[in-house]
């Protein structure tokens, strides 16, 4: 009799995704899927998907989903969680969605300590619309709207959302992770599971920032892109726990 070491998670719908080869959305979706299965939340979870490449996340994850307008997912999640507090609620947002147009919504959700989880996929670029500069694009990084590279004089320096939001009392748990190699992937899974667990305990707003690749718009192979996350992105966006109120209690 064989023993399954790993197979496709039941937390995913059995469909192909539209994501580019090697896109980390696929990996992050899996970690959420596995978490929902392990915590037995597939039947009750409601996810809010962004405008961005993950606009179709509701077709891929095996739980109820709501499509939000660009940046508004934290407000939508507030509407769901406040009226149905027993449901696990999470937003899944990219860097343009969360840190540009949605900056007010995410800030106030954290400020109010809304009891949902945000998975923030930070790949330092606008993916869906073809590679424009994002609030998290690194200094010197080229994009279609910063063709000579991000310039601090003209564009300012990028924003570290996990740290910024952690200055707010309502933030209960914030960790930055990546999925660029196996040890990092396991840590990312643990962080996501912890975020959902704390939500179900009613602790407060939980936030996992996942440094991710966009091989297509970075102009790199998937493997090289993963390396760029490890070598370059983590220099500006350090991995690790930024805030954990449970740890200080």
């Amino acid at each position: 009799m064989s023993q399954i070491v790993y197979q496709r998670s039941a937390g995913l719908q059995d469909v192909e995704t539209h994501y580019c080869p090697g896109c980390h959305h696929g990996i992050i979706h899996k970690l959420i899927a596995e978490t929902l299965v392990e915590l037995d939340l597939c039947a009750s979870a409601v996810g809010i998907c962004p405008v961005g490449c993950a606009v179709y996340a509701g077709n891929y994850l095996n739980c109820d989903f709501i499509e939000a307008a660009h940046g508004r997912a934290p407000a939508v999640a507030t509407g769901v969680k406040r009226t149905r507090p027993n449901l696990p609620v999470f937003t899944y947002q990219g860097d343009g969605d969360l840190a540009a147009i949605g900056a007010a919504e995410i800030m106030h959700a954290a400020m109010r300590g809304e009891k949902f989880t945000t998975i923030f996929v930070n790949n330092a670029i606008y993916g869906m619309t073809g590679g424009q500069m994002a609030p998290t694009t690194l200094e010197g990084q080229k994009s279609t709207t910063s063709q000579l590279g991000r310039d601090r004089q003209h564009h300012g320096l990028p924003v570290r959302m996990a740290e910024l939001l952690s200055t707010l009392d309502g933030m209960a748990y914030a960790e930055r992770v990546c999925v660029a190699d196996m040890p990092s992937l396991h840590k990312a899974k643990r962080a996501i599971k912890k975020a959902f667990t704390l939500q179900m305990q009613g602790i407060g707003f939980t936030f996992v920032e996942v440094l991710s690749t966009c091989p297509t718009n970075w102009g790199m192979s998937p493997v090289a892109a993963g390396q760029w996350v490890k070598d370059t992105m983590t220099q500006y966006y350090p991995l690790g726990v930024i805030k954990d109120v449970e740890g200080t209690l």
């Binding site: 009750s44 109820d64 989903f65 499509e67 508004r72 939508v76 509407g79 406040r82």
Partner: protein, 356 residues
């Protein structure tokens, strides 16, 4: 029936609570601030949801979330804040979600004034949000009617899976009138199998969305939406006609302006001038057939539309009558309120003109 003296904004808020509003999300803006203020206390008393959002934009998106989760959700604002909500309203329409939105209109454009106006008629009836879509628009002309229509707002929203706007003005919001709280049988609760309540034993996930990238799908959706609007329009549109049977001039006005117009008409009766009032209550769908019928009577020589705007509803009046009778317009803008004497003067002038 026992009557109580209530301020418009507070009565509308209380009416929403009694109509079963589960969640209110709002933001301060004059002249509707009493609504979020009242709701902040009242919803807590009822153990329901109240959030003062970070903006009107956030508030409408909170409504969207609560509505998607199958709850009765509401927001209120005034003109500039409604502009911010247009994106969210379009999404509500595209996802076919029920919601109630109250607009206490103020003079614009831009930041404008806090005084009353009716200059968001176009926005409400033509373009609640981008794209081909509508919401039901109800226009009370006083506090009692606003209170009565609030129950209808929630019921219509649920029944038709559409946002519903109560379009009022700062006068209605700020004034006080005696009202009666009528006991009404509750409309049967509407089943919401499409709501995101967790898939449970449902057997499939629900995905509330307005994204339809394939134009074939999107056209089919739009056609179904237009069919829904045709069905709504075929239901009884609502209006009131006063003193129109023998009228030689029909005034068409809604909201506060209707009461002013009626004052003018009643005064003129003493001078032997026969003016009547046709008051649309559903601004969308517009009571076109009823207006055609009333204005089409042989004794009617002219129609005068009176609005607190540069002339918005008058276009629907002209569209309805298609040249059958001459349509005139009188309005005040920028937050100015017309006086009955001004309306009366206009009526006299028009009838004299029509005579000549």
């Amino acid at each position: 029936m026992q009557k109580e003296l209530w301020k418009g904004n507070e009565a509308i808020a209380e009416a929403a609570v009694r109509a079963g509003c589960d969640a209110y999300f709002g933001y301060p803006i004059t002249p509707q601030n009493e609504i979020p203020e009242y709701m902040s206390r009242r919803m807590q008393e009822e153990n329901r949801v109240f959030v003062q959002a970070e903006s009107e934009l956030a508030a409408i998106n909170m409504v969207y979330g609560a509505a998607a989760a199958g709850m009765r959700a509401m927001t209120s604002s005034s003109s500039p804040g409604i502009s911010l909500k247009q994106e969210g309203i379009s999404y509500l329409i595209g996802a076919e979600l029920p919601a109630v939105i109250v607009n206490m209109m103020r003079g614009g454009p831009g930041l404008g004034t806090i005084q009353p106006s009716q200059s968001d008629y176009f926005q409400a009836t033509r373009s609640p949000g981008h794209g081909d879509g509508h919401m039901i628009v109800l226009a009370p002309s006083g506090i009692q009617e606003a209170v009565d229509l609030m129950q209808d707002s929630f019921d219509l929203a649920d029944r038709w899976r559409t946002p519903v706007m109560m379009l009022a003005d700062g006068m209605i919001g700020q004034m006080m009138e005696p009202i009666a709280w009528k006991q009404r049988p509750a409309a049967p609760a509407v089943d919401k199998p499409w709501a995101t309540t967790g898939q449970g034993e449902r057997g499939h996930t629900n995905f509330v969305t307005s994204l339809r990238l394939d134009s074939v799908d999107n056209e089919a959706f739009n056609e179904a939406l237009q069919q829904k609007y045709a069905d709504i329009g075929r239901q009884k549109t609502r209006y009131e006609e006063v003193d129109c049977e023998d009228a030689e001039l029909i005034l068409v006005a809604f909201g506060t302006t209707a009461r002013i117009a009626l004052s003018a008409a009643r005064k003129l009766r003493q001078e032997g001038i026969r003016a009547g009032l046709f008051r649309p209550i559903t601004l969308w769908p517009f009571p076109t057939l009823a207006l055609q019928q009333v204005a089409g009577r042989p004794n009617v020589r002219a129609v005068l539309t009176v609005e607190m705007s540069a002339g918005q509803m008058v276009e629907d009046v002209r569209l309805a009558l298609c040249g059958a009778k001459p349509v005139h317009f009188f309005g005040r803008t920028g937050g100015m309120i017309p006086e009955p004497a001004q309306v009366a003067q206009e009526i006299r002038r028009i009838l004299k003109e029509e005579q000549a």
